[in-house]
Every structure is written in structure tokens, then in C-alpha cells.
């Protein structure tokens, strides 16, 4: 933080006031964008709820009209199912990678290994979707594991989604684990503990809120990811919890519906925004929880 300098020159500097105003406006743009998102999504969503009652929106299956299909609960089931599979893979693997990087790897090895793991996050989701569709389902699931899965299914989508969020979990957890003071580890070693005991019983509990933030952020990524679930997860609203069947998620619904013919202002167009609003609210809450966790772990030391 720059210390504010004493005001030695009394000369007014109108040019700098203008520059400062521009900079303030740029910083304020983020608030503007947030309100823009809320306004852009809420208006069509409100029109949607004028025409479609809440009961039909939160129904388990589509009732009534052919032009729009209002049920959102199957989409929530699909989203939850793929997210659970993704987290079941990404949390242990991401945390394991983080513990190795922070507690075991030498500084030189870490310098190379961390960017390598982060490369996973650089792969476009459309590429992961293609991989899930043409490799994971036919070769891995149907071939190696001999599972009876559909061409599109929640297994493949969830697994590949999990691979995609490993770096999110690993990177942030590693930061949290590395932030634990050395004195705690040395205290543990001095008591005769080995590295595994130290990692699991001292470092991990001390970094728990940071690790929790990492997991919650991974959760939010998984809920909001679109291309993998659109390509590999399927386009069927499905209330069952069997991952070998196709499941449509909220994001897949938005993507697939947006590609169809939806005249602006029609109920099916507004439905997009209603689902988008729900998605925004859910991820917003998840992010707020994650940020709160980060606060706590920063204050601890």
C-alpha cells in the first residue's frame, strides 16, 4: 500500500482528476456488470412467471403446453447428479495433489508440477466434452468397465467434469496448505510424528477453511459448466438418479434451448432466463460461501 505523500505541490492538476475519475469508473464497471446481469436476467424471467405458475416451474415433469416445457426439477436432479460425481472424483484427487505439492514436493519439483496440473484447467470445455463423448463413454465405460451406459450419460459427463475441476481444488488447497506456518509442522515432527501424520492431523485441520473454500469453488464451477454436460450428459429431462441414463442439467437446458427457434418474448425464450436466474442465484450463494471461507482462513494467521 503506497503511503500517501505529503502534498508538496499546491498546483491543481485537473488532468489527474480526470484520470482518477476514469479509473474509478473502470473499477465501478464490475458493479455495473453485476447489476446488468441481474437486470438482463430478471426481466424476461418475471415475464415468464406472469404466464407460468410457480407450481409448473417446480414440477417433476412437463405438463401442458407443447411450446414450452416448464419443469425445472429434473434439471436440478441432473445438475446435482453430475456435480456429485464430479466432486467425488475431484475432491480426493485434487486434495491429494495439493498435499503432495505442499508437503512432499521439493520447491523445484513444485515449480514444474503445479503449472502442469493447472494445464488441465486450460483445456477448453468443448474439448473435454468431445473427449467424454468419443473416448470416455465408448472406450472407458463401455469397453474397460463393461458398463451398460447410454451414448450420453451422467457418468461420462460427471467424470470428465471432475477432471476439469481438479486444478481448481488442487491449486487453492495448495495455497491454503502452504500458508500453514512451518512452526506447526516442526512442532509435530518434534513430537515424533512422520510426514503423513503431520499432513493429516496438523496441516490439513489448520488449513481446513481454505480447503473448504477450494471445494466450494470447485462445486460452483461444476454447477455452472456448460459444454461438457451439453455434449456428453444428454438432452433428456430425467428424474431418475441412475447415472448411466442421460440427464439434462440447467446449463445444458439453456444451451440446447438457446440454439432452437425462440422468438424474443415468447414463453420458451423467457423460460431460458428463468432457468438462468435460478442458476445465477445458486452459484452466487455457493460463491458467497466460498468467499466467506477464504476470509476465515486468511484471518487465522
Amino acid at each position: 500500500m503506497p503511503a500517501s505523500p505529503p502534498d508538496l505541490s499546491r498546483r491543481p492538476r485537473p488532468g489527474e482528476q480526470v484520470i482518477k475519475a476514469v479509473l474509478v469508473l473502470s473499477a465501478g464497471a464490475s458493479i455495473l456488470i453485476t447489476f446488468g446481469i441481474i437486470a438482463a436476467v430478471i426481466e424476461p424471467a418475471l415475464h415468464f412467471f406472469e404466464e407460468v405458475p410457480f407450481g409448473q416451474f417446480f414440477a417433476t415433469e412437463d405438463i401442458g403446453s407443447r411450446e414450452y416445457r416448464p419443469a425445472v426439477l429434473p434439471l436440478l436432479v441432473g445438475t446435482a447428479l453430475t456435480t456429485v460425481i464430479a466432486l467425488a472424483l475431484a475432491v480426493p484427487l485434487g486434495l491429494g495433489a495439493a498435499m503432495y505439492l505442499s508437503e512432499y514436493a521439493s520447491p523445484r519439483a513444485r515449480k514444474w508440477l503445479k503449472p502442469t496440473v493447472e494445464l488441465l484447467a486450460g483445456v477448453p470445455s468443448v474439448v473435454y466434452g468431445f473427449f467424454a463423448l468419443f473416448f470416455v463413454t465408448p472406450v472407458v465405460l463401455q469397453g474397460w468397465f463393461n458398463l451398460e451406459v447410454n451414448f450420453t450419460n451422467a457418468w461420462a459427463a460427471g467424470i470428465v467434469l471432475g477432471v476439469m475441476i481438479i486444478p481448481t481444488v488442487a491449486s487453492l488447497s495448495e495455497d491454503a496448505l502452504s500458508a500453514v506456518p512451518m512452526a506447526l509442522r516442526q512442532g509435530s515432527y518434534a513430537m515424533g510424528a512422520n510426514r503423513m501424520q503431520t499432513t493429516l492431523r496438523v496441516v490439513l485441520p489448520a488449513a481446513l477453511s481454505g480447503v473448504a473454500a477450494a471445494i466450494v469453488l470447485g462445486l460452483s464451477r461444476a454447477v455452472g459448466e456448460t459444454m461438457i454436460v451439453t455434449m456428453a450428459g444428454g438432452a433428456v429431462k430425467n428424474m431418475s438418479v441412475d447415472p448411466s441414463e442421460p440427464h439434462m442439467t440447467m446449463t445444458a437446458f439453456i444451451a440446447i434451448t438457446a440454439q432452437g427457434e425462440n422468438p424474443v418474448g415468447s414463453v420458451s425464450y423467457n423460460m431460458l432466463f428463468a432457468v438462468g436466474l435460478l442458476l445465477f442465484i445458486i452459484t452466487f450463494i455457493i460463491n458467497a460461501i466460498s468467499i466467506a471461507f477464504v476470509r476465515r482462513f486468511r484471518q487465522a494467521y
Binding site: 474509478v24 438482463a40 491429494g96 486450460g122 477448453p124 466434452g129 456448460t226 459444454m227 455434449m231 438457446a258
Partner: protein, 301 residues
């Protein structure tokens, strides 16, 4: 140092790392588990690249880069429109996002009172924006394009706007980190000579932070180039010509990959695999450039 002191020092060092007691079955299994979780992701990445490269290998020719998508001669279909479209989108995205992002970061780091309410709101907002699902940015861009009066939204301006909104938080966050890494002595030296805050920022702080800013910006752009979800919402469809300006219709490489992956013809899937390799080369190239800049210009103060 005598032999005895040396031995004593190395014994203490070994005890204090806990390494000595790592040799039981439990900790070796634990270490193995950490290793495998680190390498699982890397293995998937290798499998993805190798499998896709093999699938796309029949199509590594110049047609891939110079031809347009063709439904008649499927084995010569190319991605010229997508590659040029992606480059156009990239350029316009950079023009929109980089100045705004850097300006916001400069304000937050160099000018703002850290404890002010405005500052805290902006900060929480940025953290939230960084985790908003990309598909939501597509919906915002659709709404803005509607307000600006564009009927057809699959144009360069719309796509670039969505991508710019998407990478803005990334640029702000990395620029702030780069500015924060510049030591305060440099600023204080400048203030001591009578410079104002802006003069100090423009002539001293900012030039020192350029490598960090460049690294973050390139990483942000490499994320934008692989993004497909917001473009899907904006209705970027197949086009068979080169974009000529911000109002011309455009497609992007990820969009072409997505569209071809749902085509039943095998030729198209092979072409999509080859296109994925092109996309990955572009992204890995940008990542490599970012790492190169960081390593080459990184200064330790």
C-alpha cells in the same frame, strides 16, 4: 565446521522434516495415493491429446487451415472461418477488456482507500464475477446486443463482448497481483522527488508490473479462445466466409468443434479431432508464451 557438528546438523534436519519415520506401510501407501492423484489428471491430459491426435491424424493437412466447412467434400472440410473468427474475437475482446481491466486494477491498488465501502463492494463483486458461469455472460451479452439494437447477434461485437466480460475479472485480479509485487520503496522514491500518485504509477509502478500484467492477460485471452458456452447463447452459427469487421457474422473454432461433434458422419468427427489439436496448439502456445514472459522478465526485488 567439525564432523561432529555436521552430523548433528544433518540429524536435526532429518528429524525436523519427519522423513525418518516415513518408512512404514501406512505412510508409503499414503504417499503412493498422493502421487497417483497428482498423476491421474496428467494421465487424462495425455490420453486426451494422444487419442485426439490419432483420431485426427488423417486430416493434418493444409486444407484444415485454408478451406471452409463443406458438406459436399467432407474429407477436405476446413476451419478457416473458425480460426479467423477466433482471432477476430480475440482481438476485439482484448481491446475491450484489457484497458478496462488494467484501469480498474490501478484504481484499486494505487488510488483507493482500502477500507472504503466502495472498495470493499467492488472487491467482493470481482470475486463473485470471477466465478459466475460463463453461460450467464452469454445471456448478458444477448441482452446488451438487444439494447444496442442488433437483431442478429452472432457477430464479432456480440461474441467479443461476452468474452470480454468473462475475462475482465481475471485481468483485474492478475494486474492487481502484479502491481502489489512492486515494492513500496520504488513508489516512495518517486514521491520523494515530488511526483504525484498518477505520475508515480505511470512512470514507475506500471512499467515494473508489465511482465506480470502481460502474463495474466495472455492467460485470460487463452481462456477466452477456448470458450464456447456464451457464444452458443449468442447464436454464433456456421459461416463460410472470413469476418471483415466488428459487425460481420462470425463463427469460432470451439463452436465449429461443437457443431461437428453432433454430426453423424465419421469424416466430420475426424475433422473435429484435428480441429481440437489446432485449438490446443493455439492455447498451449499462449500458455507457453505467458510462462516464458514470466520466467524471462520476472524480477526479484
Amino acid at each position: 565446521m567439525s564432523v561432529a557438528t555436521q552430523t548433528a546438523a544433518s540429524t536435526v534436519a532429518a528429524t525436523l522434516s519427519g522423513r525418518r519415520r516415513d518408512r512404514n506401510v501406512g505412510s508409503l501407501v499414503f504417499l503412493g495415493a498422493l502421487w497417483s492423484s497428482l498423476f491421474f489428471g496428467v494421465m487424462v491430459l495425455v490420453a486426451l491429446i494422444v487419442d485426439t491426435a490419432i483420431a485426427g491424424s488423417p486430416r493434418f493437412d493444409l486444407n484444415l487451415l485454408t478451406q471452409y466447412e463443406s458438406t459436399i467434400r467432407k474429407d477436405e472440410t476446413g476451419f478457416r472461418a473458425g480460426i479467423l473468427g477466433s482471432l477476430w474475437l480475440m482481438g476485439v475482446t482484448a481491446l475491450m477488456a484489457i484497458p478496462l481491466g488494467i484501469a480498474a486494477a490501478i484504481y484499486l491498488e494505487e488510488f483507493a482507500t482500502k477500507t472504503s465501502r466502495f472498495n470493499r463492494v467492488v472487491e467482493i463483486n470481482l470475486q463473485n464475477l470471477a466465478a459466475v458461469p460463463s453461460i450467464i455472460y452469454g445471456m448478458l451479452a444477448v441482452a446488451i446486443m438487444g439494447l444496442l439494437g442488433y437483431n442478429y447477434k452472432g457477430i464479432v461485437l456480440g461474441g467479443a463482448m461476452a468474452l470480454a466480460l468473462l475475462i475482465l475479472p481475471v485481468i483485474v485480479i492478475t494486474t492487481r497481483e502484479a502491481l502489489r509485487a512492486v515494492p513500496d520503496e520504488i513508489r516512495q522514491g518517486s514521491y520523494a522527488l515530488g511526483a504525484t500518485v498518477w505520475q508515480t504509477t505511470w512512470r514507475n509502478t506500471l512499467p515494473s508490473a508489465v511482465p506480470g500484467i502481460a502474463t495474466g492477460t495472455i492467460l485470460g485471452l487463452s481462456r477466452a479462445i477456448g470458450e464456447a458456452a456464451p457464444l452458443l447463447i449468442l447464436g454464433l452459427a456456421t459461416v463460410r466466409f472470413d469476418p471483415t469487421g466488428v459487425e460481420s457474422k462470425v463463427t469460432a473454432l470451439p463452436m465449429q468443434i461443437y457443431n461437428l461433434s453432433s454430426a453423424p458422419q465419421l469424416d466430420f468427427q475426424v475433422a473435429a479431432s484435428a480441429a481440437i489439436i489446432v485449438l490446443l496448439v493455439m492455447i498451449l502456445g499462449m500458455n507457453a508464451l505467458a510462462i516464458f514472459i514470466r520466467n524471462k522478465f520476472q524480477r526479484s526485488w
